[in-house]
């Protein structure tokens, strides 16, 4: 089908672009920044590791750029990202794979909650657009949406963890004693609560505003007026007619919004020292660990692309015009 | 100075009935989609129309018949896929440099359907009307202002001072369309392509716009290609009427004849479908199914065959030729090609 093939091609082009950027950027910069990094770690890394880094970043390598590139693509596709300098002698893949579950668990869950919450609130506030609660919610979400996530994280960390002491200041689980089973799950949830709340509270505003705008547009569409003329109950009009159509643009803009939220989530992890990908990125930046940085960037990009692809596929089920072709 | 220009223009075409423009085998195709989904829309499929001096030819058809595309190709908003456009006996090349194109535009102008979108909302009436004078370097400085006033007044927007600094949103639909007409008139063209100029206007002012166009024809020696879906309006305006269906010309002839004795089954259908309270209050019934054919997959025979009550097997074989049924009256239908007609 045309739509699916288009999405697949786009997925591949974008993934390839991200890979290629990763390859070109260090080579493009004046005095290949990787050189600085390698010089800095000279003596702390064994010569083999240095050699591997040199190959990865094209320093002192007498291969043509094309061969370097093919070699690089091969390594990336098979997941051989090289050795992490800051976590030497661990491989990048190993370091990364330890961080991924934390991020996906925390971030995935809170994003889904924020999306659902924002969408539902968006529907409700636009349907009752003149009620007092809507007139509070809109400026509030504008504020939340234009606030730096990390700052909000800092504030609630200060208030709820430091001042009130209700929650841990950071980390993902309790390190005291050997907790197992349910207790450890409880501890994980306990630690996840503040960072999760940060993401939910700040991200919800964005989804809410998007959904509200879409709803306002759809509510003035003729088919909604017609549904009223048909004497359908308000709830049916609100959901089956208005919201059902208003949600479609939310899906098409999903990738961008997701990118925005993920950026916020990375910073949130840093504030809470949450051992996920964002915190890892921070550490790799501090330690100028380029191989790790590259791998993280690739991982995030591919993750967003995949999420986006899934959303595109869901969209097929939601919009018959895409599913069946024809129309505009 | 202005009078001189004017005189030279009229000298080029002296005799009445001289042909101003001939459109020959005009074809326009649009390519849509890309790669595996590329398709060709056959919007105009080889039509021939000539328009004489001070003549109004009505081009009638339903949506998708290609009538607007004809106007836009002749107006050089689109390049023709093939076919010839001959202006004052000279063929217009497919590609023109700016000078040639400007020269062409000086002779051929256009009035658009929607007076609400055909005027730039951010430009005043005066600016809109000054532009053609400036672009074509017709008059300079003060003369331009005078000419703009003259144009407004010719088009029934008097006193001109009241209108010259207004923005489109301050004008009614009829007033806007008058500005549109004045803009087309500015360069003193020979031919004006009028693309449904009254269909978006209120009924009570349609006639005045049509009357204005007819008056201007006499006053400024203009020919019109008057495009419409309304048979009655075409009848009111035109000397000759051409009927289009699915990108083909199916009938052309003197207006009274085409209306009162339509030959092509499609023209007959259009006539029946048009409201005409004057002919008694009992409406005529029509009985026809089907829809206008898909322009990306046109039938090879007569395009009207699938819906035609008189369809014969041979209609499907090839596109019928244009046959002469009386002086200046031609029909593209097999009913008239085989001696069935006297």
């Amino acid at each position: 089908m045309r739509y699916i093939s288009k999405r697949i091609i786009f997925f591949l082009i974008t993934a390839w672009t991200a890979l290629t950027m990763n390859f070109i950027l260090p080579r493009l910069m004046p005095g290949n920044p990787a050189e600085v990094m390698i010089a800095k770690f000279q003596g702390r890394l064994n010569p083999q590791a240095i050699k591997a880094l040199e190959i990865a970043f094209g320093i002192n390598v007498h291969q043509s750029i094309l061969i370097q590139y093919m070699d690089y693509l091969g390594r990336m596709i098979t997941g051989r990202f090289g050795i992490s300098v800051s976590f030497y002698p661990s491989t990048v893949s190993k370091v990364l794979s330890q961080a991924i579950p934390w991020t996906i668990g925390l971030f995935g869950t809170s994003t889904v909650i924020a999306f659902l919450l924002g969408t539902i609130l968006g529907i409700r506030t636009s349907w009752r657009r003149n009620s007092p609660s809507s007139s509070v919610i809109v400026p509030l979400s504008l504020f939340l949406n234009s606030m730096p996530y990390f700052w909000f994280a800092l504030i609630i960390d200060y208030v709820f963890a430091f001042k009130l002491g209700w929650f841990p200041l950071g980390g993902a689980y309790s390190s005291r004693g050997n907790v197992t089973g349910w207790i450890s799950i409880g501890s994980i949830l306990y630690h996840a609560l503040l960072p999760g709340a940060t993401i939910i509270i700040t991200a919800t505003g964005g989804w809410l505003l998007t959904m509200r705008n879409n709803m306002m547009s759809v509510l003035s569409d003729d088919f909604v007026t017609f549904a009223r003329a048909k004497g359908l109950p308000d709830q049916v009009i609100e959901y089956k007619y208005a919201a059902r159509n208003a949600i479609l643009p939310s899906f098409t803009g999903f990738a961008m919004a997701l990118g925005f939220v993920i950026s916020g989530a990375l910073l949130t992890e840093i504030v809470f020292s949450y051992p996920g990908v964002g915190y890892l990125l921070y550490q790799s930046v501090l330690n100028i660990d380029y191989p790790l940085m590259q791998a993280i960037f690739l991982f995030i990009t591919i993750a967003v692309l995949t999420a986006n692809f899934i959303v595109d596929m869901v969209y097929i089920f939601l919009d018959p015009r895409v599913r069946l072709g024809g129309g505009e | 100075m202005m009078k001189l220009v004017r005189k030279m223009d009229t000298e080029q075409i002296e005799t009445k009935n001289k042909t101003v423009v001939e459109i020959e085998k005009l074809v326009k195709e649009f390519r849509i989609g890309r790669f595996t989904h590329a398709r060709v829309v056959h919007a105009v499929n080889g039509i021939d129309i000539d328009i004489g001096k001070k003549e109004v030819v009505g081009l009638v058809g339903e949506s998708g018949s290609g009538k607007t595309t004809v106007a836009r190709v002749v107006a050089r908003l689109y390049e023709p896929t093939s076919g010839r456009i001959i202006l004052n006996g000279r063929e217009i090349p497919k590609r023109m440099n700016r000078k040639a194109l400007l020269d062409y535009r000086k002779h051929v102008q256009m009035i658009f359907q929607d007076p609400f979108s055909s005027l730039n909302p951010l430009h005043t009436v005066g600016y809109t009307l000054e532009r053609p004078l400036k672009v074509h370097e017709i008059v300079d400085g003060n003369g331009r202002k005078e000419r703009v006033k003259e144009l407004l007044e010719i088009c029934g927007l008097a006193p001109a001072e009241k209108y010259i600094d207004k923005y489109p949103y301050e004008l009614s639909g009829g007033e806007r369309q008058r500005v549109g007409i004045a803009r087309a008139l500015a360069v003193r063209p020979q031919l004006i392509l009028a693309d449904e100029p009254t269909s978006m206007l209120d009924v009570s002012i349609r006639l005045d716009i049509m009357n204005l166009m007819l008056d201007l024809k006499e006053r400024e020696d203009i020919s019109y290609l008057f495009i419409t879906h309304d048979l009655a309006a075409a009848h009111y305006m035109s000397d000759r009427i051409a009927i289009m269906y699915a990108g083909h010309l199916v009938e052309i002839g003197p207006a009274d004849e085409v209306i009162n004795e339509p030959k092509h089954p499609y023209t007959q259908l259009l006539r029946k479908a048009a409201p005409k309270p004057e002919s008694g209050l009992k409406p005529e019934e029509i009985d026809i199914g089907g829809e206008v054919p898909d322009l990306t997959e046109l039938p090879s025979g007569c395009p009207f065959e699938p819906r035609c009550p008189f369809a014969k097997p041979k209609c499907r074989e090839k596109l019928p030729d244009m046959v002469k049924v009386s002086e200046g009256h031609f029909v593209r239908c097999v009913l008239y090609s085989g001696g069935e007609l006297q």
Partner: protein, 334 residues
């Protein structure tokens, strides 16, 4: 015939920030059972506001200011929302102007027909599918389109589906707001024929709103002409066509070039209608009227008076203020 709808002194419009647009002004009329009433008027004359207002479909900033609407013995304007919802579509339905966009793009045609039924009655339970098929058959749409989505239908088919939906619960009245304006002449004609047949078959009343007077003359029983928010003349179609009294109606009738017959020069009506956000003193047509009486028409608003049975007109030429013989006024022209 029994009166089905009675509208009295109906006023509606739009309250904007700085102005109030008084779009419908003191409109009164009656619709009988089985009657086909055409309401004709030009853009901005308030005809759509009237249709939306009297069915309480106007949304803010639109508002009904005052008046009375009695439909089938029920007071439409003072019903609560739930009561109103229940009779909508069941007792009267509306076919909209922009039928291209009135269908929900993500729902199948069938489901959109059925939800109108199921939220109003359980009469068809068990044979809903059949009901939907029958309805499409009434308007000559193949039943294979039941499972289609709106974007798969042509403009004419969409309009037919909407008409089928309007018939779903056998309403007593259908309001049609420019139902065929966006369609091609041939399709328009065909659909009008179908509407007429259906009306004869089921006996509902129609209020048909359009700017195209020439259409109405052929199809409706009665025609009301609206100008600047008011009804200026109302009469049976043939009477209105042959003996229109109001100078506006007369001008409008002569604004359509006849299709057949000899060509002759006709004239439209110069000028434009008054701004409805201002108060109008006297006759709203005064500025454009060729027969205006200075000192009378610009001072006193003419009331609708019945000149002969079923023929009413609001013009000083025909009432005491004008002191003129109405029928002579037109014959002079002819």
């Amino acid at each position: 015939m029994k009166t089905l709808l009675r509208v009295e002194k109906f006023n509606a419009g739009y309250t904007l920030k700085h102005t109030i647009v008084h779009a419908v002004r003191d409109v009164s009329f009656e619709l009988k059972e089985r009657e086909f009433l055409g309401i004709a008027g030009e853009s901005g004359c308030g005809k759509s506001t009237l249709a939306f207002g009297l069915t309480r479909m106007l949304l803010p900033p639109g508002k009904v200011f005052s008046g009375k609407v009695e439909f089938d013995g029920k007071d439409l304007l003072n019903m609560n929302d739930e009561e109103l919802r229940k009779i909508r579509w069941k007792d009267f339905s509306i076919v909209f102007q922009a039928s291209m966009n009135v269908l929900n793009p993500v729902m199948k045609v069938k489901d959109q027909i059925l939800d109108a039924i199921t939220y109003h009655t359980s009469d068809y339970n068990g044979r809903l599918e059949k009901r939907a098929r029958d309805l499409l058959a009434l308007v000559n749409v193949s039943e294979k389109y039941l499972n289609a989505y709106p974007h798969q239908l042509s403009g004419g088919m969409k309009q037919r589906v909407v008409i089928a939906m309007a018939l779903a619960l056998n309403p007593k009245m259908i309001i049609m707001d420019e139902p065929t304006t966006a369609l091609d002449v041939v399709v328009q004609k065909k659909i009008l024929q179908e509407i007429d047949e259906l009306r004869k078959k089921f006996g509902f009343s129609i209020i048909f709103i359009t700017h195209d007077l020439s259409l109405l003359v052929e199809i409706s029983d009665t025609i009301a002409i609206m100008y600047a928010g008011s009804i200026v003349e109302k009469a049976p179609s043939n009477v209105l066509y042959r003996h229109s009294l109001h100078p506006y109606t007369y001008g409008l009738m002569n604004s359509f070039p006849p299709l057949v017959g000899k060509k002759k020069r006709l004239h439209g009506i110069a000028g434009r209608p008054p701004d409805l956000s201002h108060e109008i003193k006297g006759c709203p047509f005064y500025e454009r009227c060729p027969k205006r009486i200075k000192g009378v028409c610009d001072r006193v608003k003419p009331e609708l008076v019945e000149i002969e049975p079923n023929h009413t007109v609001a013009c000083h030429l025909y009432d005491e203020a004008g002191e003129k013989d109405g029928y002579r006024a037109n014959r002079d022209e002819e």
